[in-house]
Protein backbone atom coordinates (compact mmCIF):
# COMPACT_ATOMS: atom_id res chain seq x y z
CA UNK A 1 0.00 0.00 0.00
CA UNK A 2 1.27 3.50 -0.77
CA UNK A 3 2.09 5.69 2.16
CA UNK A 4 -1.29 6.87 3.43
CA UNK A 5 -0.02 10.33 4.31
CA UNK A 6 0.93 10.97 0.69
CA UNK A 7 -2.57 10.46 -0.68
CA UNK A 8 -4.63 13.32 -2.02
CA UNK A 9 -7.75 14.16 -0.02
CA UNK A 10 -10.01 12.85 -2.79
CA UNK A 11 -8.13 9.53 -3.02
CA UNK A 12 -8.10 9.16 0.75
CA UNK A 13 -11.86 9.72 0.94
CA UNK A 14 -12.36 7.09 -1.78
CA UNK A 15 -10.04 4.66 0.00
CA UNK A 16 -11.92 5.13 3.26
CA UNK A 17 -15.30 4.57 1.60
CA UNK A 18 -13.94 1.44 -0.14
CA UNK A 19 -12.50 0.28 3.24
CA UNK A 20 -9.04 -0.09 1.67
CA UNK A 21 -7.83 1.33 4.97
CA UNK A 22 -9.59 2.57 8.07
CA UNK A 23 -9.94 6.08 9.45
CA UNK A 24 -7.95 4.94 12.44
CA UNK A 25 -5.12 3.66 10.26
CA UNK A 26 -4.77 6.86 8.26
CA UNK A 27 -5.14 9.00 11.38
CA UNK A 28 -2.43 7.01 13.14
CA UNK A 29 -0.21 7.32 10.07
CA UNK A 30 -0.53 11.11 10.23
CA UNK A 31 -0.03 11.25 14.00
CA UNK A 32 3.14 9.21 13.77
CA UNK A 33 4.41 11.39 10.90
CA UNK A 34 3.64 14.53 12.94
CA UNK A 35 5.39 12.99 15.92
CA UNK A 36 8.54 12.49 13.84
CA UNK A 37 8.47 15.69 11.82
CA UNK A 38 6.91 18.46 13.84
CA UNK A 39 9.99 19.16 15.95
CA UNK A 40 11.78 20.07 12.70
CA UNK A 41 8.95 21.72 10.80
CA UNK A 42 6.98 23.42 13.61
CA UNK A 43 3.77 23.25 11.57
CA UNK A 44 1.47 22.25 14.45
CA UNK A 45 1.19 24.35 17.59
CA UNK A 46 -1.30 21.90 19.15
CA UNK A 47 -1.62 18.22 18.25
CA UNK A 48 -4.98 16.75 19.24
CA UNK A 49 -4.01 13.08 19.07
CA UNK A 50 -6.68 11.72 21.44
CA UNK A 51 -9.43 13.74 19.84
CA UNK A 52 -8.26 12.65 16.39
CA UNK A 53 -8.34 8.96 17.31
CA UNK A 54 -11.80 9.30 18.87
CA UNK A 55 -13.11 11.07 15.78
CA UNK A 56 -11.51 8.39 13.60
CA UNK A 57 -13.16 5.60 15.59
CA UNK A 58 -16.53 7.29 15.23
CA UNK A 59 -15.88 7.59 11.49
CA UNK A 60 -14.97 3.92 11.21
CA UNK A 61 -18.23 2.97 12.93
CA UNK A 62 -20.14 5.00 10.33
CA UNK A 63 -18.10 3.75 7.40
CA UNK A 64 -18.64 0.15 8.52
CA UNK A 65 -22.38 0.71 8.07
CA UNK A 66 -21.79 2.22 4.65
CA UNK A 67 -22.65 5.65 6.05
CA UNK A 68 -20.71 8.82 6.68
CA UNK A 69 -20.16 12.32 5.34
CA UNK A 70 -18.21 13.53 2.35
CA UNK A 71 -14.96 13.71 4.32
CA UNK A 72 -15.64 10.79 6.62
CA UNK A 73 -12.44 9.75 8.36
CA UNK A 74 -10.19 12.24 6.50
CA UNK A 75 -7.55 13.84 8.79
CA UNK A 76 -7.21 17.61 8.41
CA UNK A 77 -5.23 20.42 10.03
CA UNK A 78 -6.83 23.66 11.27
CA UNK A 79 -5.19 27.06 11.21
CA UNK A 80 -4.98 28.39 14.76
CA UNK A 81 -7.25 31.26 13.68
CA UNK A 82 -10.38 29.09 13.84
CA UNK A 83 -12.02 28.61 17.21
CA UNK A 84 -12.23 24.92 18.07
CA UNK A 85 -14.32 23.94 21.09
CA UNK A 86 -12.17 22.58 23.89
CA UNK A 87 -8.92 23.04 21.95
CA UNK A 88 -6.59 25.97 22.64
CA UNK A 89 -6.95 28.73 20.05
CA UNK A 90 -4.57 31.69 20.17
CA UNK A 91 -4.10 33.00 16.61
CA UNK A 92 -0.47 32.41 17.64
CA UNK A 93 -0.54 35.49 19.87
CA UNK A 94 0.64 35.65 23.47
CA UNK A 95 -2.29 37.86 24.34
CA UNK A 96 -4.71 34.95 24.03
CA UNK A 97 -2.76 32.99 26.63
CA UNK A 98 -4.31 29.54 26.95
CA UNK A 99 -7.68 30.64 25.52
CA UNK A 100 -9.84 27.57 24.97
CA UNK A 101 -13.07 28.33 23.12
CA UNK A 102 -16.34 26.92 24.36
CA UNK A 103 -17.72 27.10 20.82
CA UNK A 104 -16.77 26.00 17.31
CA UNK A 105 -16.23 28.14 14.21
CA UNK A 106 -18.81 27.55 11.48
CA UNK A 107 -16.13 26.61 8.94
CA UNK A 108 -14.64 23.87 11.11
CA UNK A 109 -18.08 22.68 12.25
CA UNK A 110 -18.99 22.22 8.57
CA UNK A 111 -15.93 20.00 8.14
CA UNK A 112 -16.66 17.90 11.25
CA UNK A 113 -20.29 17.57 10.17
CA UNK A 114 -18.98 15.84 7.04
CA UNK A 115 -16.88 13.45 9.10
CA UNK A 116 -13.43 15.05 8.91
CA UNK A 117 -10.91 14.24 11.65
CA UNK A 118 -8.99 17.03 13.39
CA UNK A 119 -5.26 16.46 13.81
CA UNK A 120 -4.47 19.75 15.51
CA UNK A 121 -3.94 23.49 15.20
CA UNK A 122 -1.54 24.98 12.70
CA UNK A 123 1.06 27.71 13.04
CA UNK A 124 0.42 31.18 11.58
CA UNK A 125 1.59 34.76 11.82
CA UNK A 126 0.25 36.43 14.96
CA UNK A 127 -3.35 37.45 14.19
CA UNK A 128 -2.54 36.61 10.54
CA UNK A 129 -0.37 39.71 10.26
CA UNK A 130 2.64 38.76 8.20
CA UNK A 131 3.90 37.22 4.97
CA UNK A 132 6.51 34.83 6.36
CA UNK A 133 4.97 33.35 9.53
CA UNK A 134 7.82 34.91 11.55
CA UNK A 135 5.48 36.83 13.86
CA UNK A 136 4.05 33.68 15.51
CA UNK A 137 4.45 33.39 19.27
CA UNK A 138 5.55 29.79 18.68
CA UNK A 139 8.32 30.70 16.23
CA UNK A 140 8.06 30.18 12.47
CA UNK A 141 7.50 26.83 10.78
CA UNK A 142 10.23 25.64 8.41
CA UNK A 143 9.18 25.02 4.84
CA UNK A 144 9.92 21.47 3.72
CA UNK A 145 11.33 23.10 0.57
CA UNK A 146 14.96 24.15 0.34
CA UNK A 147 17.03 25.62 -2.44
CA UNK A 148 19.07 23.03 -4.27
CA UNK A 149 22.38 22.52 -2.52
CA UNK A 150 21.48 24.85 0.35
CA UNK A 151 20.55 24.26 3.98
CA UNK A 152 19.08 27.70 4.53
CA UNK A 153 15.66 27.52 6.16
CA UNK A 154 13.00 29.04 3.94
CA UNK A 155 9.66 30.50 4.82
CA UNK A 156 6.51 28.62 3.85
CA UNK A 157 4.92 32.03 3.45
CA UNK A 158 2.37 33.71 5.65
CA UNK A 159 0.18 34.11 7.31
CA UNK A 160 -0.99 30.51 6.74
CA UNK A 161 2.58 29.18 6.91
CA UNK A 162 1.72 26.28 9.22
CA UNK A 163 -1.10 25.15 6.93
CA UNK A 164 1.16 25.29 3.86
CA UNK A 165 3.97 23.46 5.67
CA UNK A 166 1.62 20.74 6.91
CA UNK A 167 0.01 20.15 3.51
CA UNK A 168 3.27 20.17 1.55
CA UNK A 169 5.08 17.93 4.06
CA UNK A 170 2.20 15.40 4.22
CA UNK A 171 1.28 16.19 7.81
CA UNK A 172 -2.44 16.39 6.89
CA UNK A 173 -4.55 15.72 3.81
CA UNK A 174 -5.61 19.36 3.57
CA UNK A 175 -5.91 22.32 5.91
CA UNK A 176 -8.07 25.31 6.64
CA UNK A 177 -6.48 28.71 6.13
CA UNK A 178 -7.55 32.33 5.88
CA UNK A 179 -6.72 35.14 3.50
CA UNK A 180 -6.85 38.86 4.28
CA UNK A 181 -4.22 40.09 1.79
CA UNK A 182 -2.87 36.88 0.30
CA UNK A 183 -2.39 34.62 3.34
CA UNK A 184 -3.72 31.54 1.56
CA UNK A 185 -2.38 32.11 -1.96
CA UNK A 186 1.18 33.26 -1.17
CA UNK A 187 1.92 30.24 1.09
CA UNK A 188 0.36 27.98 -1.56
CA UNK A 189 2.69 29.42 -4.21
CA UNK A 190 5.72 29.07 -1.91
CA UNK A 191 5.05 25.40 -1.15
CA UNK A 192 3.69 23.94 -4.40
CA UNK A 193 0.17 23.59 -3.00
CA UNK A 194 -3.24 24.86 -4.12
CA UNK A 195 -5.05 27.57 -2.18
CA UNK A 196 -8.24 29.49 -2.88
CA UNK A 197 -9.86 32.50 -1.31
CA UNK A 198 -13.57 32.53 -2.22
CA UNK A 199 -15.75 35.58 -2.89
CA UNK A 200 -16.16 37.67 0.26
CA UNK A 201 -19.13 36.31 2.19
CA UNK A 202 -19.01 32.73 0.88
CA UNK A 203 -17.38 31.37 4.03
CA UNK A 204 -18.74 32.33 7.42
CA UNK A 205 -16.43 34.36 9.64
CA UNK A 206 -18.19 33.14 12.78
CA UNK A 207 -15.59 31.79 15.19
CA UNK A 208 -12.66 33.03 13.10
CA UNK A 209 -10.37 35.30 15.09
CA UNK A 210 -10.95 38.66 13.40
CA UNK A 211 -8.14 40.62 11.72
CA UNK A 212 -9.71 42.95 9.13
CA UNK A 213 -13.37 42.11 8.87
CA UNK A 214 -14.05 43.57 5.42
CA UNK A 215 -11.20 41.53 3.92
CA UNK A 216 -10.95 38.27 5.93
CA UNK A 217 -12.09 35.11 4.16
CA UNK A 218 -11.52 31.47 4.98
CA UNK A 219 -10.40 28.97 2.37
CA UNK A 220 -8.45 25.73 2.05
CA UNK A 221 -4.87 24.74 1.30
CA UNK A 222 -4.75 21.41 -0.48
CA UNK A 223 -2.61 19.18 -2.69
CA UNK A 224 -4.73 19.41 -5.84
CA UNK A 225 -7.31 21.68 -7.42
CA UNK A 226 -9.96 18.99 -6.96
CA UNK A 227 -9.12 18.68 -3.26
CA UNK A 228 -9.34 22.45 -2.86
CA UNK A 229 -12.77 22.41 -4.54
CA UNK A 230 -13.97 19.63 -2.24
CA UNK A 231 -12.74 21.45 0.86
CA UNK A 232 -14.20 24.80 -0.19
CA UNK A 233 -17.58 23.29 -1.02
CA UNK A 234 -17.83 22.01 2.53
CA UNK A 235 -16.28 25.01 4.29
CA UNK A 236 -18.66 27.52 2.68
CA UNK A 237 -22.23 27.96 3.86
CA UNK A 238 -24.88 30.60 4.43
CA UNK A 239 -24.68 31.36 8.14
CA UNK A 240 -27.08 33.37 10.29
CA UNK A 241 -24.25 33.86 12.81
CA UNK A 242 -22.32 36.09 10.36
CA UNK A 243 -24.26 39.05 9.00
CA UNK A 244 -21.89 39.36 6.02
CA UNK A 245 -22.44 35.73 5.04
CA UNK A 246 -23.97 35.44 1.57
CA UNK A 247 -27.33 33.73 1.58
CA UNK A 248 -26.74 31.89 -1.65
CA UNK A 249 -26.48 28.18 -2.38
CA UNK A 250 -22.93 26.81 -2.51
CA UNK A 251 -22.26 25.49 -6.04
CA UNK A 252 -20.82 22.04 -6.68
CA UNK A 253 -17.32 23.27 -7.44
CA UNK A 254 -15.87 19.76 -7.59
CA UNK A 255 -17.81 19.37 -10.83
CA UNK A 256 -16.03 22.38 -12.38
CA UNK A 257 -12.67 20.67 -12.11
CA UNK A 258 -11.74 19.13 -15.44
CA UNK A 259 -14.37 21.01 -17.45
CA UNK A 260 -13.13 22.33 -20.77
CA UNK A 261 -11.98 25.94 -20.89
CA UNK A 262 -12.42 26.06 -24.65
CA UNK A 263 -13.68 29.48 -25.67
CA UNK A 264 -13.06 31.06 -22.28
CA UNK A 265 -11.55 34.52 -22.44
CA UNK A 266 -8.56 34.93 -20.12
CA UNK A 267 -7.41 38.45 -19.29
CA UNK A 268 -3.75 39.29 -18.77
CA UNK A 269 -3.45 42.56 -16.82
CA UNK A 270 -0.46 44.59 -17.96
CA UNK A 271 -0.09 46.33 -14.58
CA UNK A 272 0.97 43.05 -12.98
CA UNK A 273 4.25 43.21 -14.92
CA UNK A 274 6.04 45.03 -12.11
CA UNK A 275 9.52 46.54 -11.97
CA UNK A 276 12.17 44.19 -10.71
CA UNK A 277 10.07 41.08 -11.24
CA UNK A 278 12.40 38.09 -11.72
CA UNK A 279 12.58 36.84 -15.29
CA UNK A 280 11.51 33.40 -14.11
CA UNK A 281 8.18 34.75 -12.91
CA UNK A 282 7.69 36.49 -16.23
CA UNK A 283 8.49 33.26 -18.08
CA UNK A 284 6.13 31.23 -15.92
CA UNK A 285 3.34 33.70 -16.59
CA UNK A 286 3.92 33.43 -20.35
CA UNK A 287 4.01 29.67 -20.00
CA UNK A 288 0.61 29.83 -18.30
CA UNK A 289 -0.73 31.94 -21.14
CA UNK A 290 0.54 29.37 -23.66
CA UNK A 291 -1.00 26.47 -21.76
CA UNK A 292 -4.39 28.13 -21.61
CA UNK A 293 -4.21 29.02 -25.32
CA UNK A 294 -3.39 25.41 -26.11
CA UNK A 295 -6.42 24.35 -24.05
CA UNK A 296 -8.63 26.49 -26.25
CA UNK A 297 -8.88 29.73 -24.26
CA UNK A 298 -8.67 33.13 -25.88
CA UNK A 299 -6.12 35.53 -24.35
CA UNK A 300 -7.12 39.18 -23.92
CA UNK A 301 -4.89 42.03 -22.80
CA UNK A 302 -6.61 44.04 -20.10
CA UNK A 303 -5.74 46.98 -17.91
CA UNK A 304 -6.30 47.43 -14.18
CA UNK A 305 -4.96 50.97 -13.81
CA UNK A 306 -5.39 51.30 -10.04
CA UNK A 307 -3.35 48.20 -9.20
CA UNK A 308 -0.44 50.17 -7.78
CA UNK A 309 -2.72 51.72 -5.18
CA UNK A 310 -3.94 48.41 -3.84
CA UNK A 311 -1.19 47.79 -1.28
CA UNK A 312 -1.20 51.31 0.17
CA UNK A 313 -5.01 51.14 0.44
CA UNK A 314 -4.71 47.76 2.11
CA UNK A 315 -2.24 49.15 4.66
CA UNK A 316 -4.85 51.67 5.72
CA UNK A 317 -7.95 49.48 5.68
CA UNK A 318 -6.43 46.39 7.32
CA UNK A 319 -4.66 48.12 10.24
CA UNK A 320 -7.68 50.39 10.80
CA UNK A 321 -10.05 47.45 11.07
CA UNK A 322 -7.51 45.51 13.12
CA UNK A 323 -7.14 48.34 15.61
CA UNK A 324 -10.88 48.23 16.12
CA UNK A 325 -11.16 44.41 16.22
CA UNK A 326 -8.20 43.92 18.53
CA UNK A 327 -9.50 46.45 21.05
CA UNK A 328 -11.26 43.48 22.65
CA UNK A 329 -7.97 42.09 23.99
CA UNK A 330 -7.80 43.93 27.28
CA UNK A 331 -6.91 41.14 29.70
CA UNK A 332 -10.25 41.31 31.46
CA UNK A 333 -12.50 38.62 30.00
CA UNK A 334 -10.04 36.16 28.49
CA UNK A 335 -6.40 35.76 27.57
CA UNK A 336 -3.31 36.61 29.54
CA UNK A 337 -3.61 39.54 31.97
CA UNK A 338 -0.62 41.66 33.03
CA UNK A 339 -1.32 43.93 35.97
CA UNK A 340 1.28 46.69 35.49
CA UNK A 341 1.04 49.09 38.43
CA UNK A 342 -2.31 47.57 39.41
CA UNK A 343 -4.59 50.29 38.00
CA UNK A 344 -7.13 49.50 35.31
CA UNK A 345 -5.43 51.62 32.64
CA UNK A 346 -2.06 50.12 33.43
CA UNK A 347 -3.59 46.64 33.26
CA UNK A 348 -4.86 47.37 29.75
CA UNK A 349 -1.66 49.00 28.56
CA UNK A 350 0.68 46.41 30.02
CA UNK A 351 -1.45 43.48 28.92
CA UNK A 352 -1.41 44.77 25.35
CA UNK A 353 2.27 45.79 25.36
CA UNK A 354 3.35 42.35 26.57
CA UNK A 355 0.70 40.35 24.73
CA UNK A 356 1.04 41.75 21.21
CA UNK A 357 4.21 41.24 19.17
CA UNK A 358 6.12 43.97 17.34
CA UNK A 359 4.35 43.71 13.98
CA UNK A 360 0.89 43.63 15.55
CA UNK A 361 1.72 46.67 17.69
CA UNK A 362 3.04 48.49 14.64
CA UNK A 363 -0.20 47.86 12.74
CA UNK A 364 -2.38 48.76 15.71
CA UNK A 365 -0.58 52.09 16.01
CA UNK A 366 -0.98 52.77 12.28
CA UNK A 367 -4.64 51.78 12.47
CA UNK A 368 -5.28 53.91 15.54
CA UNK A 369 -3.51 56.85 13.90
CA UNK A 370 -5.47 56.71 10.63
CA UNK A 371 -8.76 56.45 12.52
CA UNK A 372 -7.90 59.17 15.05
CA UNK A 373 -9.85 62.42 15.14
CA UNK A 374 -9.43 64.48 11.99
CA UNK A 375 -7.75 61.78 9.90
CA UNK A 376 -10.65 59.44 9.12
CA UNK A 377 -11.57 61.14 5.83
CA UNK A 378 -7.98 61.57 4.67
CA UNK A 379 -7.07 57.93 5.25
CA UNK A 380 -9.76 55.31 5.84
CA UNK A 381 -12.53 56.91 3.78
CA UNK A 382 -10.14 57.69 0.93
CA UNK A 383 -8.81 54.14 1.00
CA UNK A 384 -12.35 52.74 0.86
CA UNK A 385 -13.02 54.94 -2.18
CA UNK A 386 -9.83 53.69 -3.82
CA UNK A 387 -11.17 50.19 -3.20
CA UNK A 388 -14.23 51.11 -5.26
CA UNK A 389 -11.91 52.25 -8.08
CA UNK A 390 -10.05 48.94 -7.88
CA UNK A 391 -13.31 47.00 -8.02
CA UNK A 392 -14.44 49.13 -11.00
CA UNK A 393 -11.18 48.27 -12.77
CA UNK A 394 -11.99 44.60 -12.35
CA UNK A 395 -15.59 45.05 -13.47
CA UNK A 396 -14.41 46.80 -16.63
CA UNK A 397 -11.83 44.09 -17.31
CA UNK A 398 -14.47 41.41 -16.83
CA UNK A 399 -16.51 42.94 -19.65
CA UNK A 400 -13.76 41.63 -21.94
CA UNK A 401 -12.80 38.40 -20.19
CA UNK A 402 -14.05 35.63 -17.92
CA UNK A 403 -11.07 35.32 -15.59
CA UNK A 404 -7.65 36.84 -15.09
CA UNK A 405 -4.27 35.11 -15.08
CA UNK A 406 -1.42 36.59 -13.03
CA UNK A 407 1.62 35.38 -11.13
CA UNK A 408 0.77 34.49 -7.51
CA UNK A 409 3.85 36.07 -5.95
CA UNK A 410 6.66 38.36 -7.12
CA UNK A 411 9.31 35.76 -6.18
CA UNK A 412 9.84 32.22 -4.91
CA UNK A 413 10.05 31.57 -1.16
CA UNK A 414 12.71 33.56 0.65
CA UNK A 415 14.88 32.68 3.62
CA UNK A 416 14.26 33.84 7.16
CA UNK A 417 15.76 37.22 7.77
CA UNK A 418 16.39 37.88 4.06
CA UNK A 419 13.82 40.66 3.87
CA UNK A 420 15.62 42.84 6.40
CA UNK A 421 13.87 45.20 8.79
CA UNK A 422 11.87 47.28 6.34
CA UNK A 423 8.17 46.47 6.91
CA UNK A 424 7.23 47.85 3.49
CA UNK A 425 9.60 45.37 1.73
CA UNK A 426 7.71 42.55 3.45
CA UNK A 427 4.33 44.08 2.58
CA UNK A 428 5.24 44.03 -1.15
CA UNK A 429 4.98 40.24 -1.11
CA UNK A 430 1.22 40.61 -1.38
CA UNK A 431 1.34 42.81 -4.47
CA UNK A 432 -0.48 40.33 -6.75
CA UNK A 433 -2.85 38.87 -4.18
CA UNK A 434 -4.15 41.87 -2.27
CA UNK A 435 -6.30 43.29 -5.08
CA UNK A 436 -8.69 40.32 -4.88
CA UNK A 437 -9.20 40.94 -1.16
CA UNK A 438 -9.89 44.63 -1.67
CA UNK A 439 -12.39 43.87 -4.42
CA UNK A 440 -13.82 40.81 -2.62
CA UNK A 441 -13.20 38.55 -5.61
CA UNK A 442 -12.40 34.82 -5.65
CA UNK A 443 -8.80 33.92 -6.49
CA UNK A 444 -6.83 30.69 -6.57
CA UNK A 445 -3.11 29.94 -6.55
CA UNK A 446 -1.94 26.81 -8.34
CA UNK A 447 1.60 25.43 -8.64
CA UNK A 448 2.93 25.82 -12.19
CA UNK A 449 6.66 25.17 -12.11
CA UNK A 450 9.93 25.51 -10.24
CA UNK A 451 12.63 28.17 -10.42
CA UNK A 452 16.31 27.55 -11.21
CA UNK A 453 16.92 26.61 -7.56
CA UNK A 454 14.15 24.03 -7.56
CA UNK A 455 11.61 26.09 -5.59
CA UNK A 456 7.92 26.07 -6.52
CA UNK A 457 6.28 28.99 -8.29
CA UNK A 458 2.55 29.58 -8.58
CA UNK A 459 0.10 31.21 -10.92
CA UNK A 460 -3.06 32.98 -9.78
CA UNK A 461 -6.49 32.96 -11.39
CA UNK A 462 -8.88 35.71 -10.32
CA UNK A 463 -12.58 35.26 -11.07
CA UNK A 464 -15.63 37.50 -11.13
CA UNK A 465 -17.57 37.84 -7.90
CA UNK A 466 -19.28 34.49 -7.15
CA UNK A 467 -17.50 32.81 -10.07
CA UNK A 468 -15.24 30.43 -8.18
CA UNK A 469 -16.17 27.98 -10.93
CA UNK A 470 -14.00 29.88 -13.42
CA UNK A 471 -11.10 29.82 -10.95
CA UNK A 472 -11.38 26.06 -10.52
CA UNK A 473 -11.77 25.38 -14.26
CA UNK A 474 -8.78 27.47 -15.28
CA UNK A 475 -6.63 26.31 -12.34
CA UNK A 476 -7.38 22.69 -13.22
CA UNK A 477 -6.34 23.35 -16.83
CA UNK A 478 -3.05 24.83 -15.56
CA UNK A 479 -2.59 21.92 -13.17
CA UNK A 480 -3.05 19.45 -15.98
CA UNK A 481 -0.72 21.24 -18.38
CA UNK A 482 1.95 21.91 -15.76
CA UNK A 483 1.89 18.32 -14.46
CA UNK A 484 3.63 19.68 -11.38
CA UNK A 485 5.28 16.70 -9.73
CA UNK A 486 8.13 18.33 -7.79
CA UNK A 487 8.31 17.32 -4.14
CA UNK A 488 10.48 18.68 -1.37
CA UNK A 489 13.52 16.48 -0.72
CA UNK A 490 13.19 15.08 2.74
CA UNK A 491 15.75 16.67 5.09
CA UNK A 492 13.72 16.58 8.30
Amino acid sequence: MTNLTQLTLSDAVDGLKAKTFSAKEITQAFLSEIDKSNQHLNAYVVVTADKALKMAEASDAKLAKGKGGRLEGAPLGVKDLFCTAGVRTTACSNILGEFTPTYESTVTQNLWDQGAVMLGKLNMDEFAMGSSNETSRFGPPASPWRREGSNAKLTAGGSSGGSATAVSADLCLAATASDTGGSIRQPAAFTGTVGIKPTYGRASRYGMVAFASSLDQAGPLAKTVKDAALMLEIMCSADAKDSTSLHLPVPEWTKSVGKSIKGMRIGVPKEYRVDGMPEEIEKLWQQGVDWLKAAGAKIVDVSLPHTKYALPAYYIVAPAEASSNLARYDGIRYGARQSGDGSLTSTYETTRAKGFGTEVQRRLLIGTYVLSAGYYDAYYLRAQKVRTKILEDFEKAFEQCDALLTPATPSAAFGYGEKGDDPVAMYLNDIFTVTANLAGLPAIAVPAGVDSQGLPLGLQVIGKALDEEACFKVAAAIEQAAAFKARPKRWW
Binding site: G97, F99, T100, T102, Y103, T199, Y200, G201, A240, S243, T244, L246, H247, H306, K308, Y309, P312, A313, Y315, I316, S323, A327, D330, G331, I332, R333, Y334, R337, G340, G342, L344, S346, E349, T350, R352, A353, R362, L364, L365, I366, T368, Y369, S372, Y379, L381, R382, A383, Q384, K385, V386, R387, T388, K389, L391, D422, P423, V424, L438, L441, L466
Partner: protein, 95 residues
Protein backbone atom coordinates in the same frame (compact mmCIF):
# COMPACT_ATOMS: atom_id res chain seq x y z
CA UNK B 1 1.89 64.53 7.51
CA UNK B 2 4.80 63.56 9.67
CA UNK B 3 4.57 61.72 12.96
CA UNK B 4 6.79 62.82 15.87
CA UNK B 5 7.45 61.26 19.25
CA UNK B 6 4.55 63.13 20.86
CA UNK B 7 2.12 61.82 18.26
CA UNK B 8 3.33 58.27 18.81
CA UNK B 9 2.87 58.72 22.57
CA UNK B 10 -0.68 59.98 22.00
CA UNK B 11 -1.57 57.21 19.55
CA UNK B 12 -0.09 54.53 21.83
CA UNK B 13 -2.24 55.91 24.63
CA UNK B 14 -5.34 55.74 22.40
CA UNK B 15 -4.43 52.16 21.42
CA UNK B 16 -3.86 51.32 25.11
CA UNK B 17 -0.37 49.98 24.45
CA UNK B 18 2.40 50.87 26.89
CA UNK B 19 5.32 52.05 24.75
CA UNK B 20 8.60 52.73 26.59
CA UNK B 21 10.06 56.21 26.07
CA UNK B 22 13.07 54.91 24.13
CA UNK B 23 10.83 53.16 21.59
CA UNK B 24 8.90 56.34 20.68
CA UNK B 25 11.61 57.66 18.33
CA UNK B 26 12.19 54.43 16.37
CA UNK B 27 8.43 53.86 16.10
CA UNK B 28 7.94 57.37 14.76
CA UNK B 29 10.50 56.52 12.08
CA UNK B 30 8.75 53.28 11.14
CA UNK B 31 5.31 54.84 11.06
CA UNK B 32 6.58 57.72 8.92
CA UNK B 33 8.03 55.20 6.47
CA UNK B 34 4.70 53.43 6.14
CA UNK B 35 2.67 56.65 6.04
CA UNK B 36 4.92 58.16 3.35
CA UNK B 37 4.31 55.07 1.23
CA UNK B 38 0.56 55.31 1.84
CA UNK B 39 0.55 58.98 0.79
CA UNK B 40 0.52 57.95 -2.88
CA UNK B 41 -3.23 57.40 -2.52
CA UNK B 42 -3.55 61.17 -2.73
CA UNK B 43 -2.81 60.86 -6.47
CA UNK B 44 -6.13 59.08 -7.04
CA UNK B 45 -9.10 61.22 -8.00
CA UNK B 46 -11.88 59.98 -5.72
CA UNK B 47 -14.31 62.88 -6.22
CA UNK B 48 -17.84 61.55 -6.32
CA UNK B 49 -16.70 57.97 -5.69
CA UNK B 50 -18.67 55.94 -3.14
CA UNK B 51 -16.74 54.09 -0.45
CA UNK B 52 -16.57 50.36 -1.11
CA UNK B 53 -18.92 48.18 0.88
CA UNK B 54 -19.30 44.83 -0.85
CA UNK B 55 -18.67 43.25 -4.26
CA UNK B 56 -21.98 41.40 -4.11
CA UNK B 57 -25.04 43.55 -3.61
CA UNK B 58 -26.93 42.35 -0.57
CA UNK B 59 -29.05 43.76 2.19
CA UNK B 60 -28.32 43.03 5.80
CA UNK B 61 -30.34 40.03 6.90
CA UNK B 62 -33.22 40.46 9.34
CA UNK B 63 -34.40 37.96 11.89
CA UNK B 64 -37.13 37.66 14.49
CA UNK B 65 -36.43 39.81 17.54
CA UNK B 66 -36.17 36.92 19.94
CA UNK B 67 -33.54 35.69 22.36
CA UNK B 68 -31.35 33.11 20.62
CA UNK B 69 -28.54 32.70 23.11
CA UNK B 70 -27.79 33.06 26.80
CA UNK B 71 -27.76 31.29 30.16
CA UNK B 72 -24.16 30.27 29.60
CA UNK B 73 -22.50 32.18 32.43
CA UNK B 74 -19.96 29.49 33.14
CA UNK B 75 -18.96 29.33 29.49
CA UNK B 76 -18.57 33.10 29.37
CA UNK B 77 -16.34 33.02 32.44
CA UNK B 78 -14.44 29.90 31.44
CA UNK B 79 -11.45 31.81 30.07
CA UNK B 80 -11.44 34.74 32.49
CA UNK B 81 -7.99 35.51 33.94
CA UNK B 82 -9.77 36.07 37.29
CA UNK B 83 -13.38 35.43 38.29
CA UNK B 84 -15.25 34.97 41.54
CA UNK B 85 -18.84 34.04 42.37
CA UNK B 86 -19.87 34.26 38.75
CA UNK B 87 -18.27 37.66 38.10
CA UNK B 88 -15.17 38.92 36.31
CA UNK B 89 -12.68 40.32 38.79
CA UNK B 90 -11.07 43.59 37.62
CA UNK B 91 -8.72 46.12 39.21
CA UNK B 92 -10.42 48.61 41.50
CA UNK B 93 -11.88 51.45 39.42
CA UNK B 94 -13.90 53.40 42.02
CA UNK B 95 -12.20 54.72 45.14
Amino acid sequence: MSVDKNTVRKVARLARIAVPEERLGPLAGELNGILAWIEQLNEVDVDGVEAMTTPVAMTLPMREDVVTDGNIRDQVLANAPRSEDGFFVVPKVVE
